[in-house]
């Protein structure tokens, strides 16, 4: 499976949740598959999906799912100790690990070589770290939501992108409708 197939699979689960979605093609895919006011699309700032998600989870009680990638989280590895030491049981980090920088031409990442992000997360103190295949992403995500425990899910999948248009929605509109959905 590639990322867009996983996003299609889990879209019905994401629909009812607050979602912070990673910059680039992941946001374009989620936007095209199932645009929701509860989705916050990152249009810039590679690497901060997990940080924005954690801040949101710490500030309010609704469940938050941050969708990040292996390449982008590698630019912000300091996020794992922060997540581990500031436990928010309404926070799930869903790392789609396809071993490549998908938005820039599928160059390999170190996560696709020797580095295991699930081991990095555990070594940083994250307590619930689950690794699964793409086909099991939905059931794993659903269990994590039901567990009410902060969880890091690493979904291993193949690299590749679906062709969807760039998001042209104004960032202030994305933020405004998202904040209304958060406080609804």
């Amino acid at each position: 499976m590639i990322r867009s197939e996983i996003l299609k699979d889990i879209a019905p689960i994401l629909r009812d949740q607050l979602v912070i979605c990673n910059i680039g093609i992941p946001s374009q895919e989620l936007h095209a598959i199932d645009d929701q006011p509860t989705n916050f699309y990152m249009l810039g700032t590679m690497g901060l999906a997990s940080s924005i998600g954690l801040g949101l989870a710490l500030a309010q009680p609704k469940p938050v799912i941050a969708i990040d990638g292996d390449g982008s989280v590698l630019t912000n590895l300091g996020t794992f100790p922060t997540i581990a030491n500031n436990v928010a049981d309404n926070f799930i980090l869903l790392l789609i690990d396809n071993g490549s920088y998908g938005s820039t031409g599928d160059q390999p990442t170190y996560a696709g070589k020797k580095t295991r992000l699930e081991e990095v997360a555990k070594a940083c103190g994250c307590e619930n770290v689950i690794t699964c295949e793409g086909k099991d992403a939905g059931s794993t995500l659903q269990s994590a939501i039901a567990s009410n425990q902060m969880t890091v899910i690493v979904v291993k999948c193949e690299s590749g992108n679906a062709k969807f248009p760039v998001i042209t929605m104004d960032p202030v509109i994305i933020r405004d409708r998202f904040m209304k959905a958060v406080s609804a």
Partner: protein, 168 residues
């Protein structure tokens, strides 16, 4: 006047309840004071762009955020300021230790100090420079201004303001 307490009291009075920090020796007292206030959720960050991401999330969760950091971090956060904080029009008070100014003992700190105001000006970030202790009287107004205009705002606090980091 205890400026650590005055700064923290102004933050609390302006409903700021989520603060991320990357420490600086000059900021140690205010960070201690923040930790003594249970109404402020303090999340230490490993890098300042990560801290700004946390602040952006907290803002969207309904809390007023602030970041406390050193001016060297301007070099780390330009992209985050432009493409997250400014692009999505988010308010963010940045209480910044302005190293490399008068009474600085470490020469290397001057190397980023000479770029600090130029970078902030290039980013169109409203910038205030606290040089004397009495300058802290403007903090309350600066915080109100920040949340009025939904912009990142820099408050540079130099060694003279803190009572002389370099006097040793």
């Amino acid at each position: 006047m205890n400026i650590d307490k005055k700064i923290t009291d102004d933050l609390v009075a302006n409903d700021i309840s989520f603060i991320t920090t990357v420490p600086c020796k000059q900021l140690a007292g205010v960070i201690d004071e923040i930790d003594a206030h249970p109404e402020i959720h303090h999340v230490p960050a490993n890098k300042e762009d990560e801290g700004m991401g946390l602040c952006a999330g907290a803002l969207m969760g309904g809390k007023r955020p602030a970041i406390i950091m050193q001016n060297t971090a301007i070099g780390v956060t330009i992209n985050t300021l432009a493409t997250l904080i400014q692009y999505y029009r988010m308010p963010l008070p940045m209480l910044i230790s302005y190293r490399g100014e008068l009474r600085e003992p470490v020469a290397c700190q001057v190397e980023m100090a000479v770029h600090t105001k130029a970078l902030l000006a290039q980013m169109n970030i409203p910038t205030y420079h606290f040089h004397k202790q009495s300058d802290v009287e403007e903090l309350d107004m600066i915080l109100k201004y920040t949340f009025m205009c939904n912009k990142p705002v820099a408050i540079l606090t130099d060694a003279n303001f803190w009572g002389g980091y370099g006097d040793q």
